[in-house]
């Protein structure tokens, strides 16, 4: 088992930012592990603008924002990037197993930064009853299908939840010539940023129902329609307020959850880490609204890891 000074898991803005910041604070041996074939994390599929306003004082797209970090990393010899590399197991001793095509590797890290990002809440997690046809996507999956794979998931869309990804996808579907029937949010106010509500819904006249929920999904093969109902203060359905919307596609945009399965499997509580030299940053630590805030968080994690290693001598 080889030993490395610092291992960073995850090559999104958090992982890249942390690796760079640790290097700048003096760490000379860094391994950055990313499971995808590119660095950039979720930013690669966010081709809209709105990134970097506070961190770079510039209005960038997701890939442009990521590229600023990727270029920097490529220029630093002390950061070794291992792509298509999936960390599958972790111990409290900071031993790590990762696999990549053709290889299974075991390493021990003196310091370890987890930057594994987040996943989206699913239809199953928010318990929408009804049929289980095709045509139900998480907003992020729809984003990937359109922006990366060049496929149009559907033509008549209802969006469940007003998370930012959902709002941005509402506009994206319109730009692709699809119809967005409504965005349905169970809470009294939008979950996403105010600017996204204006730029993605209001500017395109997309109906936005607050204090409403999707009560049922219909469709034996492909989605056919949804029932929508208004809810009261306790989020209970108000009888008689229901109506139906015909659609062939449903996007779920009901928030993100930190991805901390590696830590959990190792018996480490992600919210309360007491293992010296182990750090968590970015969306794996907590869900940030903006990539800019993730970068700030990463900066700090990199510095702390460097200090910890200095302390070891």
């Amino acid at each position: 088992m080889s030993e490395r000074q610092l291992v960073v898991i995850g090559g999104g803005p958090a992982g890249m930012g942390a690796a760079i910041s640790a290097y700048e604070a003096g760490v000379k041996d860094i391994l950055l592990i990313e499971r995808d074939q590119y660095l950039g994390g979720i930013l690669n599929q966010c081709i809209h603008t709105g990134f970097g306003l506070s961190y770079f004082k510039k209005n960038l797209t997701g890939p442009e924002y990521a590229h600023r970090f990727i270029e920097k990393i490529q220029a630093i010899d002390n950061i070794e990037v291992s792509l298509k590399s999936f960390a599958v197991k972790l111990t409290k001793e900071k031993e790590l197993i990762f696999i990549k095509p053709g290889e299974l590797k075991e390493i021990k890290a003196k310091a370890l930064i987890m930057a594994t990002g987040a996943r989206e809440r699913t239809r199953e997690m928010i318990h929408i009853p009804g049929d289980r046809p095709s045509g139900i996507f998480s907003a992020g999956l729809a984003q990937k299908l359109i922006n990366i794979e060049g496929l149009l998931p559907g033509e008549e869309v209802v969006i469940v939840g007003s998370g930012d990804i959902g709002l941005i996808m509402a506009r994206r579907f319109i730009l692709e010539g699809a119809k967005v029937k409504a965005v349905i949010e169970i809470q009294k106010q939008s979950r996403g940023l105010a600017r996204n509500v204006v730029q993605c819904l209001e500017d395109f006249n997309i109906p936005f129902y607050l204090s409403h929920k999707v009560a049922r999904i219909y469709g034996k093969k492909r989605v056919e329609k949804v029932d929508v109902v208004e809810v009261d203060e306790d989020l209970k359905a108000i009888p008689g307020s229901d109506f139906s919307l015909a659609c062939d596609t449903i996007l779920i945009s009901a928030g993100l959850i930190s991805e901390n399965e590696l830590l959990e499997a190792a018996g480490i509580e992600a919210g309360n880490i007491s293992i010296p030299g182990l750090f968590v940053c970015g969306n794996a630590y907590k869900i940030y609204d903006l990539a800019d805030s993730v970068s700030r968080d990463a900066l700090l994690a990199g510095k702390q890891a460097a200090e910890y290693l200095k302390g070891l001598g």
Binding site: V88, L104, R119, R132, L145, L151, L152, K221, D248
Partner: protein, 480 residues
């Protein structure tokens, strides 16, 4: 004129029953075909059930169900070994909350012993505290049936089908039987795709067995769907219980259970509700509430927030018992209908019974010299020792290429599933568990779609979740 394909035996339906019959008959020098209306086998009742290999308890003494379940429990063990499937004997506990219920346990025990169910034991509070710590402490006693087991229901069907095919049987999917004509010497079957002819026809069409039977001229039974909603819990709760936990049975069902599944996730359910529509697989808020309440009564540690997935299945009910008979008015036609629970368990025993009926009706059964029985166990990287995994990845790089991150399924396993017959996204999910984890495919669906489209050589826009009409995406943006 349409050409006609001729076989000795035609089996209608590729659920667990049709698949078990096909595999059993493939031991003999016969030409066999299975006709299935769906895109893949196991897309009917056999994909959505509790996955329990019942020990034989809770069946009345002279029922077909009781006898076949008991025999099926024994046969399934052997089949699992031969076909490289995981059968786990976890045992079941039927629990009693008061004196009155405890007395009923005694009756259940007597009845099951009469059927021949082995190893039954009434266990007390102390035993339960020791052996089933999360059980509601108010439970006073339980009937312990050690031979209850669990299996992956769809993988059982796939393995049976694969093995039948290996031994010469043919399976025609997307082939819906539309009418059956009885000629002098044979049946002529028209389907949505081709025409078939055979001297013997076996109706194993699950929920639609009454319709198929009517096509052959027998209409003395009707299948009514009885819906069961089930809710799957996070794998993190794998050790919630050690056994399958049953309440006392009611007249129509075994009640809401706390189930262990072959993949490790606990499951709670099923409900039992008589409905009309044979294709209504929806789940409901009431179903959820009911299952949560009833399962928490058995195991209070169950949390609604542990639920990661849900589905419903329809029991094909035609009265209290199975209907398995060769029809005298229509010689050569065998009905295997009303196969409700414990149909998954009974399937291999049903296959033997059907074989004997065929024989009694003049079908010559001559064993093949070679029956290819052993089937290689599919390898999952994380179920083998580290050193073995290392070697495997070195030998075959695709094992190191993880596609589904939640269930850690490699590209190699996906490709193998396609070789074994997966044609849809659900087919991949049932075989490999890719998309069955926490994110439900949010991360890996695009990659899976690309692999599947490439391997079976169809455009991405033609890919479906589970057959025609359930296309994954509507359009290629470049075609717009």
């Amino acid at each position: 004129m349409k050409s006609v394909l001729v076989f000795d035996v035609l089996i209608i339906g590729a659920g667990v029953v049709g698949a078990a019959i096909a595999r059993e008959l493939s031991r003999y020098k016969l030409s066999i075909a299975v006709l299935e209306k769906e895109e893949e086998p196991a897309f009917g009742v056999s994909k959505s059930n509790s996955g329990i290999i019942h020990p034989g308890t809770q069946n009345s003494l002279n029922s077909l169900k009781g006898r076949l379940c008991l025999q099926g429990n024994i046969l399934t063990r052997k089949i699992s070994q031969e076909l490289g499937l995981d059968f786990q004997e976890v045992g079941e506990l039927i629990v009693a909350f008061n004196e009155q219920e405890a007395e009923i346990l005694q009756n259940l025990k007597k009845q099951a012993q009469g059927l021949g169910v082995p190893g039954l034991k009434i266990v007390d509070k102390n035993w339960l505290r020791e052996n089933e710590p999360n059980l509601n402490p108010e439970v006073r006693a339980a009937l312990f049936a050690p031979t209850a087991g669990i299996i992956s229901p769809y993988r059982l069907v796939y393995a049976l089908c694969e093995n039948a095919i290996k031994n010469g049987a043919e399976i025609y999917t997307n082939t819906k039987v539309e009418n059956i004509a009885r000629q002098e010497e044979y049946f002529e079957i028209n389907t949505s795709r081709k025409s078939f002819r055979a001297k013997y026809v076996i109706n194993a069409a699950g929920l639609f067995a009454d319709e198929i039977s009517r096509m052959a001229g027998i209409s003395d039974f009707q299948i009514r769907p009885r819906k069961g909603e089930e809710f799957i819990l996070d794998k993190k709760k794998e050790n919630l219980t050690r056994h399958l936990i049953f309440p006392l049975p009611s007249k129509t069902s075994k009640g809401v259970l706390v189930i262990k599944t072959a993949d490790g996730n606990p499951m709670i359910g099923p409900t039992a509700e008589d409905i009309e529509d044979k294709e209504d697989l929806s789940t409901s808020e009431e179903g959820l509430k009911k299952v949560i309440t009833l399962s928490q009564r058995l195991v209070p540690a169950i949390n609604e927030s542990d639920i990661i997935a849900y589905f419903s299945g329809l029991r094909p009910v035609a009265g209290d018992d199975f209907i398995i008979r060769s029809e005298d008015q229509v010689p050569g036609f065998i009905n295997v209908a009303g196969i409700q629970s414990p149909g998954l368990t009974s399937a291999p025993a049903i296959a033997l019974m059907v074989r004997d009926m065929l024989k009694a009706h003049g079908l010559k059964l001559k064993k093949k010299r070679i029956f290819k029985s052993p089937r290689k166990k599919s390898i999952h990287l994380f179920k083998i020792p580290l050193t073995a995994a290392k070697k495997l990845i070195k030998k075959d790089a695709a094992y190191g290429d993880i596609v589904c991150r939640c269930e850690m399924v490699s590209a190699q396993e996906i490709k193998q599933a396609i070789v074994e017959g997966a044609r849809t996204m659900d087919g991949i999910k049932f075989r490999t568990r890719a998309q069955a984890g926490r994110c439900h495919g949010s991360f890996c669906a695009t990659r899976l779609m690309k692999i599947l489209a490439e391997e079976i050589k169809i455009p991405l826009t033609a890919l479906t979740k589970r057959g025609l009409g359930s296309e994954m995406v509507k359009k290629d943006r470049l075609d717009v």
